[in-house]
């Protein structure tokens, strides 16, 4: 098939709307008679609700509590443990208790609701938690082989919460229509929200979800929006009027999910020559007060916990635990940034203990085609660990700089990492994702549930369809995800939108082409009328996975990366100045090079923020620095331009050779930064590595 759009940086489908401000986000939309909604939340981390008192004139208000729920009050996710509105007890600060709506925002915000609690002692330390949401054990070979190692290195690594800081806070509008409720909103996964709304509203109230233009997600609008969507729906149902709920920044930071904090312990046994003998890894994730997606975050975290290394004997034990803190959830990388931080700093320390060059040590142990991962997956030719490592080292003149920076305030460090694309194990089989392609009078229309949240879904899907169908890119339209009009393509998560949904679309286009014969879609439409092709995803037939033992092919393929960070530490202030950051990544083949570069640049900068700046301060179970002034993400002056290298190694299972990309860039920056700080002699084992932490870290002699 002729390739004219794929591989080109064609104009974004949504570029003009965004550059002109015409694109409509949730808060830009209004409906006649619309009310504004507000959520009354717990101010204590654990307690029983004694009384709820209204200290305002309730005239003109719609007030909703748990008793107003027509269906189930539990969010329909992995476990149905999280109430949309608290009944008798609260388990975290920010937990929703009551909903108010009023047509006047000022009157709404002036309303005072007093909640009296019987406070109970909160559980805030994850290590002290005996309530476990999920445990996972991965066994490969026999970890007892550790006894045969020449050297055993141990270490404990910690990562903090990370807040998504999509620049558009959560927002939804629920509109009563046709006897049901339609929710429009800033939502990554409309079909997740639909499922939750159906459970909430019960069988008699039909639900529908329409995604509005979404101002960033990064996982933060994956499962969470089911809650504000449900709240707005309850208010709309009770009032009979459209209800808009827009979180302000403080509310969004205090109440919504974050990246799971982690504690990861490593014991690694090696031979004198650097051969890995055995690895033992313990992973603890702080799940917060409800299960949300913690089991699957833990799963991905554990699967990636041994890093991209060949080792015959591995034991990984993970647990996600309960604490009285706001529930944590999906965030780009989904458990892997935590565990890959730990393993990459551990590997640096092992090399150091051996007196080996960190590059040589990694080169010796990096996974190659034919090797097996921790879950026993035999890697195929799409394994590029060595390729990314070698290119990164060559391009940055790593060895030369490593020596040259000795004795200065400068340092260089690297990380080697990988990221499984798509749902874990049999997940893609269970999902049964579908995509649909429709002939229109002017071309074709893509109708999937995949959302555009900035990453370029519309554009990249249209490119795939254009080339697979042999039509101009401009003639491909992309329908706005609306659960009434598109099919469920699975969630827009897990680096699967290009590789998995793009693949179904490619197959739809091929099938449509054979139906069209030599006609263009428009000619076909004029002659025969509408035509629709719909297909379901079939994962590669060789995938074998056992959920009980965690053995098998965890992912159809992996993306590979090596990040190199050069930095300077101010000797007076311990501020870290990033000098050069190089990201070498292999993700099959880029469908749209500029979009792909943007994913790597943006993901790398999020990773650099995670490494150095972004610290959630929790006090008595609540985020104490819930303002953008005090939770600091990188500005233009904090990060250099990222030197991006996209290595190609086309993956036969993806459309035009593409693998997943979205999450990969998040995994590497933090360990590369910390390994560079180690090069300076700072023994850092936790992130964010703030100047305060660097100032307090023991400086070992540089070797």
């Amino acid at each position: 098939m002729p390739v004219t759009a794929v591989g080109q940086s064609v104009s974004r489908k949504d570029g003009i709307g965004k550059a002109t401000g015409a694109a409509k986000y949730a808060d830009d939309l209004t409906w006649p008679g619309m009310l504004h909604g507000r959520t009354i939340r717990s101010t204590v981390p654990r307690g029983r609700i004694r009384a709820v008192l209204f200290d305002f004139d309730t005239t003109g208000f719609t007030i909703v509590d748990h008793a107003d729920v027509p269906g189930s009050n539990m969010v329909d996710l992995i476990e149905r443990d999280q109430p949309l509105l608290a009944v008798h007890e609260v388990r975290h600060v920010g937990e929703p208790i009551l909903l108010l709506a009023h047509e006047d925002k000022e009157v709404l915000h002036a309303a005072r609701v007093l909640v009296e609690y019987e406070e109970l002692p909160p559980l805030l330390d994850p290590e002290g938690s005996e309530q476990t949401f999920k445990t996972i054990t991965i066994d490969k070979g026999d970890a007892a082989a550790m006894a045969g190692a020449d050297l055993v290195v141990e270490g404990t690594y910690q990562t903090g919460h990370q807040e998504h800081i999509y620049i558009e806070p959560n927002g939804v509008i629920a509109v009563p229509e046709d006897g049901g409720i339609t929710v429009h909103g800033s939502i990554q996964c409309p079909f997740y929200a639909l499922k939750a709304l159906k459970a909430l509203l019960g069988p008699d109230i039909p639900a529908r979800v329409v995604q509005t233009e979404t101002g960033g997600g990064f996982g933060g609008k994956e499962e969470f929006p089911s809650i504000p969507a449900g709240h707005a729906a309850l208010l709309a149902h009770k009032s009979g009027r459209p209800v808009k709920i827009i979180y302000d920044r403080v509310e969004d930071m205090v109440s919504t999910t974050k990246r799971h904090p982690s504690i990861v312990r490593h014991r690694t046994g090696v031979k004198r020559d650097g051969t890995l003998v055995a690895m033992e890894v313990e992973v603890i994730l702080d799940g917060g007060a409800y299960v949300t997606l913690s089991p699957v975050v833990l799963s991905r975290g554990c699967i990636h916990a041994a890093g991209p290394y060949r080792c015959d004997n591995i034991r990984i034990e993970g647990r996600a635990v309960f604490t009285n803190t706001p529930p944590n959830g999906a965030f780009r990388g989904f458990g892997a940034p935590q565990t890959e931080f730990a393993v990459e700093v551990q590997m640096e320390r092992v090399a150091e203990a051996l007196g080996m060059d960190p590059v040589e040590f990694r080169r010796k142990n990096a996974l190659r085609a034919g090797d097996t991962t921790a879950t026993g997956q035999v890697l195929r030719e799409d394994c590029s660990a060595l390729a990314v490592l070698d290119e990164a080292v060559r391009r940055t003149e790593f060895a030369r700089k490593r020596t040259e920076y000795e004795g200065t305030d400068r340092a260089i460090g690297l990380s080697l990492f990988y990221h499984g694309a798509g749902f874990t194990g049999s997940g893609e089989r269970y999902l049964k994702s579908r995509a649909r392609l429709e002939v229109t009078p002017t071309g074709v229309r893509i109708a999937t549930g995949s959302t555009e949240i900035g990453q370029g879904t519309r554009t990249m899907h249209a490119q795939i369809v254009a080339d697979a169908l042999g039509v101009p890119y401009e003639s491909v339209e992309v329908a706005q995800p609306d659960t009434k009009h598109v099919v469920d393509s699975g969630p827009t998560v897990a680096s699967r939108t290009c590789m998995v949904v793009g693949k179904i679309l490619e197959e739809c286009a091929v099938e449509m082409r054979s139906e069209l014969g030599k006609l263009s879609p428009a000619e076909y439409f004029a002659k025969h009328g509408a035509m629709t092709v719909e297909r379901m995803y079939e994962p590669p037939d060789w995938i074998r996975w056992d959920d009980a033992t965690y053995r098998g092919d965890a992912y159809a393929t992996y993306g590979w990366g090596c990040d190199v960070v050069e930095l300077e530490v101010d000797p007076d202030t311990f501020d870290v100045r990033l000098l050069e950051v190089t990201a070498v990544q292999e993700f099959g083949r880029p469908i749209h090079p500029a979009l792909a570069r943007g994913q790597i640049e943006g993901g790398t900068v999020q990773g650099l923020g995670y490494a150095l700046l972004e610290r959630v301060v929790m006090r008595n179970g609540a985020m104490a620095n819930a303002q953008l002034t005090n939770y600091t993400i990188p500005t233009t002056l904090d990060v250099p331009e990222i030197d991006v290298v996209m290595l190609e190694n086309p993956y036969p299972g993806g459309p035009f050779g593409a693998k997943g990309l979205g999450e990969l860039p998040m995994d590497g920056p933090a360990p590369a930064v910390v390994n560079a700080l180690r090069h300076l002699g700072h023994d850092i084992r936790a992130i964010p590595a703030t100047p305060e932490m660097i100032a307090a870290s023991p400086v070992a002699a540089r070797t």
């Binding site: 960033g216 500005t635 331009e641």
Partner: protein
């Protein structure tokens, strides 16, 4: 109270302490100006007041009495920087884009800004998607094209290219 909005005179009955942001979005129905934080930190609500960039979430509308206010809608989609934001993928989710474009206009007086000039000019605008690099590419290209474009004064152009 009157002010000039995107070149046209407007009259507002809003409370003098109403945020300029709310007057623009809710009264004037210009929703291209976005609210990201309400604390002047993200820059998504950036507009120009008498040519200077401000965070409209921190401005009482009373203080723009008689002033010229320019929002993203005032560029009418025809500003070359808007096209370059599209070409260079300076917009991903797009929520910071209007503010970013308006903040970048401060560089209009700078014929050949350095990368550091661009960084400094945009330090008040947070973007969580792009890591900023694509935005720099768009802005630098805009200045380079303006510098060598048909509108550049010939004597200036030759002076600069000596």
């Amino acid at each position: 109270m009157r002010f000039t909005l995107n070149g046209l005179p407007v009259e507002t009955n809003a409370h003098p302490m109403a945020r300029l942001l709310d007057v623009l979005r809710e009264e004037q129905r210009l929703t291209g100006t976005k609210e990201g934080c309400g604390e002047g930190e993200c820059g998504a609500c950036t507009v120009l007041v008498d040519g200077q960039s401000v965070c409209s979430c921190l401005v009482p509308v009373a203080q723009v009495e008689g002033a010229r206010v320019t929002t993203i809608e005032g560029l009418h989609g025809t500003h070359p920087l808007q096209k370059l934001f599209m070409d260079e993928v300076g917009a991903q989710c797009g929520i910071c884009t209007p503010g970013m474009v308006l903040a970048a206009l401060a560089l209009e007086d700078n014929p050949v800004p350095t990368l550091d000039d661009v960084r400094t000019a945009l330090a008040g605008n947070l973007c969580r998607c792009t890591g900023y690099s694509a935005i720099y590419r768009a802005v630098l290209k805009w200045r380079a094209e303006a510098d060598s474009g048909p509108h550049a004064a010939p004597e200036q152009a030759s002076a600069r290219h000596k």
